[in-house]
């Protein structure tokens, strides 16, 4: 049964905080040089935990480990196999996965700057600091012991100002994690869209939106008693508990290309249609909902940005179905139309009386992500986003959102449109184009923009596991 999350000194605080007040950040990609030295360094390493957030933090550090990283640190194959197939296989190694993620054409792992097959980072260190505070923070971490243990490269970021390189406000919509444990998923309220999501969708070892524990490595013997006992499997120790899968992708944005395309084809209104929000204010193109939405508000900003669904825009006249924010989170409940009584619900379950198009996409609550990305680069040079997402089930959350929602040309009954910002624009095997975009026009047919150029190119990526503090100590003490 739902209970409040109490192990605040075990959970890396990135699960709770995006560190908006810490505008500087960098990510260090590590490869293990010396396993013993690496384990020793990790033993002494202390990531920022939720308990630290009680006072205002001036800096934060986080660590996450990839499957090759666990191997390099000496973790047994049997333990690694307890993690999900997506994590163990990795983001780039399986061509079928690359197709699903849209990592084809210019996005293909063969052309990545990092993260391609054989070049996966073993660990990632995420550093967040106040303005100009990164130098001392990095210097304290990257010491002689560190140099003896790892080789590293750095992904630098640009100072956070709330906007991504194309100019839109970023990170406006996030799921509200039910830390207090008040939520029992799957009830009548979930027939309507809600933004409150169980902890188990983001942290392993807690019940997810099905009320179940996502599988993860459970360990029979833990002589040093480092790990907590699994809540759902007495007698087993939980390596996953308080941990999360961290997705890191380097998305290079062709800012000049985007701006000139938009300028030549309709200006700001086109850009806003592609995104689904106003450029200046960040407000949605869809109309605000009359009824309150669970997990939205009461803060005025949140209401302004997020108190809406697309229910009243079934034709996609205000925000096109292809609009980025509509694809990334269609804001659908378990049944279109929501809670309308038992009879209506039973009929809907059997497929009667629900709008065919509205029902192509259901139950957004199973496909949510906590996003922690930062932009990088400066105008005139290479710019983009170091996309970071946290989730408990890579297949059902990150890969589903990326493949079935953002990347599918058939999303919500469309034919040839991928996400207008992120699409790889590669035709499918049959020749089916994927580079269309149709902008709704007041009082007339949609405007067909023809073939969109590619605006975003994947330059690197990897799946990591961001462990709880005790799990990190267990990993460091193993092998």
């Amino acid at each position: 049964m739902p209970a409040p999350v109490t192990e605040l000194d075990d959970i890396q605080a990135l699960a709770k905080a995006g560190y908006n007040p810490l505008p500087d950040a960098c990510h260090l990609l590590l490869r293990v040089k010396d396993a013993k030295a690496a384990r020793a360094w990790l033993k002494a390493f202390r990531p920022t935990v939720i308990a630290d957030l009680k006072t205002r933090v001036k800096s934060a550090v986080h660590i996450a480990i990839s499957a090759p990283g666990l191997r390099a640190l000496g973790v047994e194959e049997a333990v690694i196999g307890g993690f999900s197939q997506e994590f163990v296989d990795g983001m780039a190694a399986d061509p079928a996965r690359s197709r699903r993620l849209g990592d084809v054409g210019a996005n293909a792992p063969a052309g990545w700057a990092w993260g391609g097959a054989g070049a996966e980072p073993h660990l990632v260190l995420l550093l967040f600091a106040e303005a100009d505070g990164l130098g001392p923070l990095r210097a304290a971490l990257v010491n002689t012991a560190f140099e003896a243990a790892f080789t590293h490269t750095e992904l630098s970021t640009a100072r956070r100002d709330g906007r991504e390189p194309f100019g839109f406000l970023d990170g406006l919509s996030q799921p509200v994690v039910d830390w207090a444990g008040k939520r029992t998923p799957g009830g009548l309220p979930d027939l309507d869209y809600g933004n409150a999501i169980t902890v188990g969708e983001f942290l392993l070892g807690y019940p997810n939106e099905y009320g179940l524990y996502t599988s993860r490595p459970l360990i029979r013997r833990d002589p040093a008693r480092l790990l907590p006992e699994a809540q759902d499997a007495p007698g087993w120790f939980d390596l996953g508990r308080n941990g999360s899968y961290l997705v890191l992708r380097q998305l290079e944005q062709d800012v000049d290309g985007f701006r000139s395309f938009v300028k030549a084809n309709g200006g700001e209104a086109l850009a806003e249609s592609m995104v689904g929000r106003k450029l200046a204010s960040g407000e949605p193109l869809a109309t605000h909902a009359k009824e309150p939405i669970r997990g939205v508000g009461p803060k005025q900003d949140d209401l302004r940005y997020n108190a809406f669904t697309f229910d009243s825009d079934a034709e996609g006249r205000l925000c096109p179905y292809s609009g980025h924010i509509r694809r990334a989170n269609p804001r659908t409940g378990d049944i279109p139309g929501g809670d309308q009584g038992l009879l209506k619900m039973l009929l809907s379950m059997l497929g009667f009386g629900v709008d065919r198009r509205a029902d192509t996409i259901a139950s957004s609550r199973f496909h949510r992500l906590l996003r922690r990305g930062r932009k990088y680069g400066v105008a005139g040079g290479a710019q983009g986003l170091h996309f970071i997402a946290l989730n408990a089930n890579l297949g059902r959350q990150f890969e589903f959102v990326q493949g079935a929602w953002l990347g599918s040309p058939k999303f919500a009954g469309m034919t040839a449109e991928q996400d207008p910002l992120l699409g790889a624009r590669q035709p499918l095997e049959s020749g089916q184009a994927t580079d269309a975009f149709r902008m709704p026009q007041a009082g007339g047919p949609c405007r067909d923009l023809g073939a969109l150029p590619q605006f975003v190119t994947v330059k690197g990526g990897a799946y990591f596991f961001m462990p709880g503090v005790r799990a990190l100590k267990w990993i460091a003490g193993n092998g």
Binding site: F400, S430, P445
Partner: protein, 428 residues
């Protein structure tokens, strides 16, 4: 309308022939898993009534699960399944295939038991033909030719609409007239709907009446006896072992190499039914009901709430010991499973919970597939590689086909106006 029908040839195969057969089948493909429509063995593209077809070797990896029921099936055959869905009656299509692809089919079937150089191909196939226990057709009456012509129509209208927009024509009425005139003048030609075959119509009405009668008779009996069989059901449900064996990741990865190249994927699976008369009776009853519902109700684009399936079928084989399930669905396997779990878990449970090892259900409909990960594992373990797969209209999703048909209807509706006209234009 032209009704659709299905065929399945199920032929036994000695295990040592599997590798050779798979190599031959692979030669039919343009890329792993996808048939070259012009392949010399069975050039599927030459048969204009064929919607989808596949060859799949069924090599059940989960027979060991029966041990949990103190049962076994040591002589379970390995099969070659050749199946497809077509417009009109399947028999003439198979006659034609056997005649025109005699050499190719003979080479394929020569790997199977009881086939040699002197075998009468057509008669051999007929002897191994197995009827579906339940079938699903996305849209009854939609022919291959219609799907293809309407896709061309959509493209033509799209181009014309863009042209009109460039010329500044935006009035909906004027657009409708212009598009209608354009199609009349320059095509594409649209084959008119064929009259419904009388024999089929009579059979369909007969099936409806017979089904309704059966339901009228059986429903009250089921209702009156509900306390007893619900008790028995609960006894089974609480005692049936759930099998938590993880799926073989390397095997799943290998099968996935044929998936997600285009819009639609094939799914092939085989699994044992829980031993005993009780579960078999439920399977047969549920599949009968499913088939009745699909042929009478779910025949215009959606199976309950799920709109991504083109064709599907469930076949009870091996004298009621196993079920073969085949479908053709849009999207990736994971999103297909998510769609079903979140929209129609009760339906999955009804049909699949009688399979060995299925996640525990309550009252046949609750629980089960809602145990998301266990359900996915159950299906992945039973999935078979689809060695050769053909679809007559690549690139088109089930929703595309539906929308294209709506576009045609609107085009052929004179005097379309108001909201309906706006909606029609938005479809293009």
């Amino acid at each position: 309308m032209t009704p659709q029908s299905e065929f399945l040839i199920l032929a036994r195969l000695a295990p040592d022939k599997v590798a050779g057969l798979r190599a031959l089948l692979a030669g039919m493909n343009g890329r792993p898993g996808l048939a070259d429509p012009k392949n010399p063995l069975v050039p599927f593209g030459d048969f204009p009534t064929l919607h989808v077809a596949r060859f799949a070797v069924l090599d059940d990896q989960t027979l060991g699960d029966l041990a949990a029921f103190n049962a076994s099936f040591p002589d379970a055959p390995v099969y070659l399944a050749f199946l497809g869905d077509c417009d009109g009656d399947a028999e003439p299509l198979l006659d034609e295939m056997a005649a025109r692809c005699s050499e190719g089919l003979r080479r394929i079937f020569s790997f199977c038991d009881g086939f040699n150089q002197t075998t009468d191909l057509r008669r051999w196939m007929a002897a191994r033909s197995v009827a579906a226990s339940a079938g699903y057709v996305n849209t009854a009456g939609r022919t291959v030719i219609q799907a293809r012509e309407e896709a061309v129509l959509h493209q033509a209208l799209e181009a014309e609409l863009a042209q009109a927009a460039a010329e500044g024509v935006t009035a909906p009425q004027a657009l409708h007239e212009r598009l209608s005139a354009q199609v009349l003048q320059n095509g594409p030609a649209l084959t008119p709907e064929a009259p419904t075959p009388l024999g089929w119509l009579l059979g369909h009405v007969g099936a409806f009446l017979a089904g309704a009668l059966i339901l009228l008779v059986v429903a009250p009996i089921l209702l009156v006896t509900a306390p007893i069989w619900l008790l028995v059901l609960r006894r089974h449900e609480t005692r049936d072992p759930e099998i938590a064996t993880p799926y073989d990741r390397a095997r799943r990865r290998a099968i996935a190499q044929a998936e997600d190249h285009d819009v639609t994927n094939p799914f092939t699976a085989i699994g044992a039914i829980k031993p005993g008369l009780f579960r078999l009776t439920i399977v047969r009853g549920v599949l009968w009901l499913l088939n009745f519902g699909n042929s009478m109700i779910y025949k215009s684009g959606r199976l309950a709430r799920v709109g991504t399936i083109h064709f599907a079928r469930w076949v009870v084989i091996d004298q009621g010991r196993r079920v073969l399930f085949c479908s053709n669905y849009d999207g990736s396997l994971d999103s297909y499973m998510d769609d079903f779990i979140n929209k129609a878990a009760f339906g999955l449970n009804l049909v699949f919970s009688n399979g060995v090892g299925y996640p525990t259900t309550r009252f046949l409909m609750l629980g089960g597939a809602q145990r998301e990960e266990q359900f996915k594992t159950f299906l992945r373990r039973r999935q078979q590689a689809t060695d050769v797969w053909y679809k007559a209209y690549p690139g088109l999703s089930a929703y595309d086909l539906y929308r294209n048909a709506e576009i045609r209807k609107g085009l052929q509706t004179p005097g379309l106006s108001g909201e309906a006209l706006d909606r029609w234009l938005a479809l293009i």
